[in-house]
Amino acid sequence: MKKYSTWIYITAGSTLALIILASIIGKYFFVGPVYNPALFKFEDSTKTVIIGASHSATSMDTDYIEGALNVAMSGEPLYFSYYKAKALLKNNPQIKDVIVAISPIHVAQYSDKYLFQGNAGSRSSAMSYYYLIDDLSDPLINKLSSDNIIAYLKFHWGLPFNYMSDLKVVVNY
């Protein structure tokens, strides 16, 4: 039986070691360089940014707004648009105007409840935007939700959650 107990300890230790190694690589070579709000730098000519969800993404034509850049994403919760705007304004002092199209659904209670729910949609949002949150004491963050725990472990400790999906982003798939 001793050989089996030794095997279990070696396996558990190796798994832990691999996770720690992957976390270090993830934190310093992947999460850090890729998920970094400081990279949000636009050209000086960009004076107006358009943020928000599909309403903004599809209804604002930057050809008709001088110096505007549309960085809205369909399905983006307004909650995360706020942190996105914060990061953009911090790194781009030349921005004078922020335009956001809001519909009732974006400010309905439903939208807040949708955050950190632990379902596929809220997980997807958390994994895409969590790194933008600069205030983790935000009362809308459900601290004990799996979304928060997984995203925190990934973006603050570098744990290798979701590498497969991230790799698709990196290779532009």
């Binding site: 798994t15 691999l18 992957a22 997980r123 290798p160 999906s165």
Partner: protein, 380 residues
């Protein structure tokens, strides 16, 4: 007994087939009865089967030695409860009797952990990406060209195997950790040379259940070949109906039944095709029938199948991920050239090599653990 069986089937019918019945009523009566959108309890098809088997065998007096605790254990043993393997009480209840076997043992934890790691890898690293690609392609099924149709159908066929067998590996691995030996559920089904062989290797516990409780009740040895084929047909018809509340599933069951009957006819006539030809025909048959499983309706299935077999449209390939062909190749190599999980478990030794492989598989699985997709069989 019949009252108990009826009660179980009524519950299953209510949860699973109410909207299907409404759909058909609306179709026949040209009415607009509203759908109920009833939430399906996870695994109801599986534990209903186990309950029915237990009831029937209790009526036959085969379970009189079982105590209440063993019965409850049988019905609530969590590793296999929701997606199988479908466990027959004779397989496990005698194991509960000897509780010493259920105590944690290093050997069981090591072997179970190794199998669990294989299951995680199948599910998280192979099945999930393939399933994503297949599903997103079938969502726009009527726009796919020949290449995309083949890639989506093969992706789904492979993901389906890795999803189900991955779950079975995890369930069996957990069972081993607890000292309970659960039955094998997959035996390299995509290596099968005909459909009869395929169904002996695919979801073996379901086939055994259907064989024991449907086929044997219809089949009468004294009535000749026609009765044998009729029993097969009825069994596969019910299997299709069990797999999903939709006519596409029923047709899938019927086609599988016809293919299995054809296989038996060829075996009886002692006609044997060369292995490669037989395997190719079988595998293409499996892929083609899986289209009925994943497509939203007959129209999408028809469109995809026509595209697949017309070999005419290769332009504007957009629903094919860059790494999808590599994944498909890798998946095919795994199902055809590698030993299956049970064979790998037999070869397992508590060595550093196996410790490294297990650790690597568990860590790689963690890499893809953020978007947790449900198991494909959760819908059943």
């Amino acid at each position: 007994m019949w009252l108990g069986v009826l009660l179980n089937i009524t519950l299953l019918a209510y949860y699973k087939y109410t909207d299907f019945a409404i759909f058909n009523l609306n179709l026949i009566l040209d009415s607009t009865l509203p759908y109920q959108n009833i939430l399906l309890p996870i695994g109801i098809s599986f534990f209903t089967f186990q309950l029915i088997a237990f009831l029937v065998d209790s009526y036959r007096g085969e379970t009189k030695d079982y105590g209440l605790v063993n019965y409850l254990m049988f019905m609530t043993f969590f590793p296999q409860l929701i997606v199988g393997p479908i466990v027959h009480h004779k397989d496990v209840v005698p194991q509960y009797e000897n509780l010493k076997q259920a105590l944690p043992r290093y050997k069981n934890i090591a072997r179970g952990g190794f199998l669990f790691a294989i299951g995680c890898t199948k599910k998280l690293l192979i099945a999930d990406p393939l399933s994503n690609w297949a599903q997103s392609a079938f969502d726009v099924a009527d726009t796919l060209n020949t290449l995309e149709s083949w890639a989506a159908s093969l992706s789904y066929t492979l993901s389906y195997y890795f999803d189900l067998s991955g779950y079975a590996d995890m369930a069996i691995g957990l069972g081993i950790m607890f000292g309970i030996k659960l039955p094998m559920n997959f035996n390299s089904p995509y290596k099968a040379r005909n459909f009869a062989d395929y169904w002996r290797r695919w979801h073996m516990t379901l086939s055994k259940f259907l064989g024991d409780y449907i086929f044997r009740n219809v089949y009468d040895k004294t009535k000749g070949d026609f009765n044998f084929y009729l029993a097969l047909f009825v069994t596969f018809f019910i299997s299709g109906f069990w797999h999903g509340a939709g006519w596409t599933f029923v047709v899938w069951g019927i086609i599988n039944g016809v293919f299995v009957i054809a296989s038996h006819m060829m075996i009886k006539a002692k006609k044997r095709l060369p292995f490669f030809l037989a395997w190719t025909m079988t595998f293409i048959g499996v892929i083609a029938t899986r289209v009925l499983f994943v497509a939203n309706d007959f129209s999408d299935s028809y469109y995809v199948l026509v595209k697949m077999f017309s070999f005419s449209d290769f332009e504007n390939t957009t629903h094919l991920a860059i790494i999808q062909p590599l994944y498909l190749l890798f998946g095919m190599v795994l199902v055809l050239a590698f030993p299956n999980s049970s064979q790998l478990l037999e070869r397992y030794k508590p060595t550093v090599k196996y410790a490294g492989i297990t650790a690597l598989l568990l860590t790689l699985s963690l890499f893809n653990m953020s978007y947790v997709r449900g198991f494909l069989y959760f819908q059943f």
